[in-house]
Assembly symmetry: C2
Homo-oligomer: 335 residues x 2
Amino acid sequence: MESPPSPHRDPDGGEARRRTATIYEVAERAGVSIATVSRVLRGTIPVAPGTAERVREAVAELRYRPSHLGRGLAERQHAANGIVFPDLSGPYYAEVVLGYESVAAELGRSVLILSSHGRPTARDMVLDLAARVDGLVVCTRTVDDETVREVAATGTPVVLIARPPVADVDTITTENRDSAARLADHLLGHGYRRFVFLGDADRSSDFAERFEGVRQVIPAIIPITCGFDEDGGFRAAEAVRLQKPDAVICGNDEVALGLTRATRGSVPVTGWDDVMAARYAGLTTVRQPMRELGARAARLLDERITGARGEPHHDILPTQLVVRSSCGPHPKEET
Amino acid sequence: MESPPSPHRDPDGGEARRRTATIYEVAERAGVSIATVSRVLRGTIPVAPGTAERVREAVAELRYRPSHLGRGLAERQHAANGIVFPDLSGPYYAEVVLGYESVAAELGRSVLILSSHGRPTARDMVLDLAARVDGLVVCTRTVDDETVREVAATGTPVVLIARPPVADVDTITTENRDSAARLADHLLGHGYRRFVFLGDADRSSDFAERFEGVRQVIPAIIPITCGFDEDGGFRAAEAVRLQKPDAVICGNDEVALGLTRATRGSVPVTGWDDVMAARYAGLTTVRQPMRELGARAARLLDERITGARGEPHHDILPTQLVVRSSCGPHPKEET
DNA sequence: CTGGCACATGTAAGCGCTTACAACAAGACC
DNA sequence: GGTCTTGTTGTAAGCGCTTACATGTGCCAG
């Protein structure tokens, strides 16, 4: 019972700056082997009640917390998921991440985040992240298909958000084309005839689909490229003005808001996402369930990690047209 | 050179569903020992150029990525930091996290996030998180002082954001009292005399300090408690109305915005934070450098983790009054 | 020719866990 | 009383890495 020959460092001595107790110290204190401690903690194999009690006491006294590193190595899993997104500055990704974290936490998994910030090293960072999680969510075009394929090839499940499928990886998107067409219809109902689409369809499949949806209804729409944020919309004002459009359909709310600021509301505008500021700016937009997007991703990922499902899923979440004042005066026509 | 007696599983055979290559396979392929592979990868000890080249080739061919678990165990560190916040729905924490991630990534550390969501198990979740990171940032009142102390006691550095110091842990806050007093002065300049402070000073030290700052100038101010989000402000409208205030000073922008929505702008209001929506709502507020808050936290943490600094820091970041229209008409008085 | 040294590399002991397998004690059964 | 269970616990082999130490080689001074 006294000091079983453990290969580990002498557990007594200066209690002071010890990082944290190990399973060996708990075992010694409880007078059992480390295997028994492990069994009590994980509840895998029944342990005599008295023994279990002693172990639990030792755990409490030592404030023992199992090392995730040790456990992970032995179990060959991380109990953690990752999520990669371009940025967190807009409300969009914040909401997605929030929904994701919320479900992942419920499922007992930690969440590692990685913002690519458009860094050129994004590929490496993602590969690195993939090596420390059991599954990964990749938002939009943060890395190229090749990288996604490489991660998937190592056996790490991947879920793509707002991005076209790669290999047989799961994807979740929100409905774009139909709502875009509906939005266009609405604008046509205002009597507008000359349109500009503001955004960057090449760098986002969401934008591309929205553009396509609109163009189905308004073939002559003029695309103008700009950045994804307020600043992008603001700077594009001059280019937009040159086209003298009756209305501008923006790829997202931030661009719409930025443009509105530049034009001081002189041009009818619509956005996409329905962020908080959109409500206060009276922006007509399309609401998409951002939080749900993240939550679903977490669940799909979990199904893959636990092996509950084999075939790839491609979910599409519904969106909703929200008419406010930014598209101009109009006989009320709510959706 | 052929199959050195390794205790590990036979590395050849079905390449198909292998999770990922190990250092043993790289070593075998390059015809060296695992020690040499490790040395090449980490660059710790010089290796003959030819050998190094062979190792690098093997690494590339096998798409080898070192296991963070193995490495972490051996090095006794996680190369990861955590951050705990109550929620990510408002822009405030999203910005903080963004700034934090940005710097942490630069420093080569992964970021684990944990949203407490007011869950009763928050304490355990934080303790658990602490066991898988090298350092931890705790925002606001997500967990009690006891928990912070316990984490700090295990030797894991902790940085507190927007929260009073605990033990000798680092803290970062933004300036509240003075700006609050300045804000109050400004409102007095409008000729207002009867004030309400809307927020929950008991659950946030930021709110408490803002309230104190205001009360220094307006001793008779009436505090009303409400939730931290738009909904909280919206619901408090009736209680506020009963007090017939000349102006309402809210603890943050979201509350102010919610209240404004309920009163339809009939009562002068101020917020705090300067979130995106505040600009569009014309909200008079106090801007605080949210992203910088996170960035500084990441740096302070790093200093502690690397042991570059011993004494605790208590940083206070400056804030800035932003006057817009929500506080009512007034001879222009910018700050 | 030999001892010594620098350099390159291999050997093996951990890091903190999980778990297959072995060992052992106490009944149960014939 | 002997054998077989059943229940409980210990032993030890990994999991994939890092690194102190040992080993081996080539070269130079003596």
